[in-house]
């Protein structure tokens, strides 16, 4: 009989990037890298655990833009092209390094890595890896939760409740389409909550969400168990608080596991290191050097001297870190259990793309952690938030505090001098969308107008992605983020004007529908 629970939550998200108008597009690589380095390695870990009969529980948010991209035919075929080029490069690398054994074995490792990714993607899951996640969910091991339709930052659109509701409802409809049931939980975009958001969740039958630590810490009335048990908002939707200690062990730039010198260095990539003419065929059309995903060195601290990566050493370290993480959770749970009259739950959420993409060994760390929890201890068990609610249906009623998981804990990262210009346009577009939905609520038979109205809804949603404001603040790829914001607002505004003036340009509408094809089944009436 265990004393408490650990709930590991991975937030998998990428903004909707799809450019059929170009033969290839740099930012589409975000998806391809994440498939190769994060999603497929995680799928492999889960498949193997199930195959060996090892029980585990994990919760993952697969955001609607990510699901849209993973199920899009064009991006699926472009992924095959991407991974085949990587296979080809790793073959060339195997040949080039034949007299350097310490690099040659790594080139072979990457070759295996890429050919395996291709096999899992194309053959095993027939290009649609959502099927894999659905399989794990149906097997009771994984709880897939949803997110905002385009990861829109809800508290920064709170002057338009219809716009907030559309973010939730479009997401729920898409989830139902792919997972054949309603989502029971949601990862609020950027973990951003403010009182009132829970009402929208309740209306969509969502049972729980996650908040940043201080969302629960500063909740009112004061939560009895702090962040180690959920609270019910007055609407009855449960809020689980993020545990600081477990977060820190993995995330912290100073003391987090991923910075260990045994692990692979993310920054030393052959796309930058090798002779230009040799690597040129694997770069994008513009010929700028970029990461190609083959990295030979391990993190070596503050020195220019880099040691070649050792997969064996890294695996030992990942196992050691998994053991350390488990040990700390055991101690934590033992302590908490002694103070509480119920079993505590430690909620540990992370960005999924940290595992594998940034922290190459991350998926193996999860693998080791789950195996160790299954065999090496009896104090903690893995659980999903929903299972915990089923076990403890009675919880304290309290209203969480406004919060996000961004820098300084509130909205500043998405509302500052670098990006505040977007909000007057986003708010106006949302207001106009509600107006359109109201004015044209009884439109029937006019297929062109209905198509234009639906496309207007898509453009608004795409403009609302919190990613654009985020990228503007980070300072890299700012131009792309600004261009995307302007483009979607422009397309929305033109559609609005054309619909109002009854001058819809069918050819232009088709072109825009072809580009921004997210949510094919959207119905603009959601804005009513």
């Amino acid at each position: 009989m265990g004393k408490g629970y650990l709930s590991l939550i991975l937030h998998a998200h990428l903004p909707f990037v799809r450019h059929p108008e170009y033969r290839e597009f740099l930012e589409e690589d975000w998806l391809f890298e994440a498939i190769t380095e994060t999603y497929i390695p995680l799928i492999n870990v889960f498949d193997k655990l199930i195959e060996e009969g090892i029980d585990f529980r994990i919760t993952m948010s697969l955001t609607p833009p990510l699901i849209s991209m993973l199920t899009d035919g064009l991006l699926q075929s472009r992924y095959i092209r991407y991974v085949e080029k990587r296979i080809q490069l790793s073959e060339k690398e195997t040949e080039r390094t034949r007299h350097q054994p310490e690099f040659n074995r790594l080139a072979r490792m990457y070759h295996k890595h890429f050919t395996d990714a291709r096999h899992v993607f194309a053959e095993k899951y027939h290009r649609n890896i959502i099927h894999a996640f659905k399989k794990f969910q149906d097997a009771g091991k994984l709880e897939v939760i949803t997110c905002g339709a385009t990861h829109g930052y809800l508290p920064l659109m709170n002057n338009n409740v219809n716009a907030m509701r559309a973010q939730i409802n479009v997401a729920v409809r898409q989830y139902e389409k792919h997972f054949h049931r309603k989502p029971r939980g949601i990862w609020l975009p950027e973990c951003a909550y403010e009182p009132g958001v829970d009402q929208l969740l309740k209306d969509a039958d969502i049972r729980f969400f996650i908040t940043e630590t201080h969302g629960i810490l500063f909740a009112s009335p004061r939560p009895r168990y702090g962040i180690y048990a959920p609270i019910y908002c007055p609407t009855g939707v449960a809020a689980f608080g993020r545990d600081m200690e477990s977060s820190k062990q993995v995330w912290s730039a100073k003391e987090g596991y991923p910075g260990d010198v045994s692990y692979r260095d993310f920054y030393r990539d052959v796309g930058f290191d090798l002779d230009y003419d040799y690597i040129r065929p694997y770069l994008h059309g513009d010929g700028k050097r970029t990461n190609v995903g083959i990295k030979y060195y391990r993190i070596s601290g503050k020195t220019d001297h880099k040691e070649p990566y050792s997969p064996e050493g890294a695996m030992d370290k990942a196992a050691e870190h998994a053991g350390n993480f488990m040990f700390n959770r055991e101690k934590q749970v033992e302590h908490l259990a002694s103070l509480m009259d119920r079993k505590p739950i430690v909620v540990a959420p992370y960005d999924a793309e940290l595992f594998g993409h940034w922290w190459f060994e991350g998926p193996e760390w999860i693998n080791f952690l789950f195996r160790k929890i299954a065999f090496d201890q009896k104090t903690i068990s893995l659980i999903t938030p929903m299972e915990y609610l089923e076990m403890y249906p009675v919880n304290q009623v309290s209203t969480p505090a406004l919060s996000s998981w961004g820098y300084k804990g509130y909205h500043e990262y998405w509302l500052n001098d670098s990006n505040d210009w977007i909000y007057r346009h986003l708010h106006k577009a949302a207001e106009r969308m509600v107006e359109l939905a109201s004015v044209y609520q009884y439109t029937t038979g006019n297929h062109l107008k209905i198509r234009a109205l639906n496309q207007a809804a898509r453009e608004l949603l795409l403009a609302q992605s919190s990613d654009w404001a985020f990228i503007m603040k980070t300072g890299t790829m700012v131009e792309y983020a600004a261009k995307r914001t302007k483009e979607h607002i422009f397309r929305f505004t033109r559609l609005y004007d054309d619909i109002r003036a009854n001058t819809i340009d069918a050819a232009w509408l088709s072109e825009v529908e072809g580009k921004d094809n997210i949510f094919p089944d959207i119905d603009y009436h959601i804005y009513q």
Partner: protein, 273 residues
Amino acid sequence: MDKDIIKEIFLLILEIFKALCEIAWSKTKNLVILIWDRFFGLSDVSREQAASHEWGVTGENKWPSAPETPAIKQEEPQQEIEKAEVMYPPAVHELPDSYGDNRIVLMVRDPEWLFTYWELRTDVVDCIKSALGTMAQDARIQLRVYDVTDIVFDGNNAHKYFDIEIPGGVRSWYIRTGEPGRSFCVDIGLLAPDGAFHVISRSNAVRTPCMCVSEVTDEKWLSIEALYEKVYMPVDGSISETVFKKTRAVWQETLKEGVSSAESSGGLTVSKK
């Protein structure tokens, strides 16, 4: 016939006169707009630093405890911006400068800061100015920030307020209230030389979040104080000060160091260096 020729000549002269006027206008337009902005500030120029504000009480003059911090936060120095790997052609479609609205919108940024943006219609402003008569030229655009916590605000019943003078051309502002857990509303208006404030537009009301552990303890749980404190204690810590202070300190420390995607480069979007 003669009549027609005279008519033609008359129309021709009219056209030439119109063309000359247009040329003259195009030459002087920028100057006129510049002067207009300088005095009435209705189009977008750069934002400037604001002076410190003082609280006032609605209907009275001043509220005693004046926060000393400046009303605009000095943003951290911009991070070094690395060039994107692909140069994008400049966006073809720039966004509209205005939407023809007369409105001010208020947003919460964090427990101590608000953000507001506005768009004013010249006809509305002109209307107020014509009512002001000769005082119009010395009237200044101001923001009036009201504390409207737990009241239905009618323009006169705020707990207190303070004013921020807005430089010409600015269309948004960060407001430091320094007061978590309160509700605010903002008017943008013209302050006449006689001290009267003429509202051009009133914002929505917003509430800043509390930044402290709630003092509200459910009656059923009144006896759990000690238990609650223990639960918040770090696993291996032994602390004498109150757990709430400690927990808050740990939490703030954690935020500084960065343990989430937003600052530790977890997502792919941030990884593109």
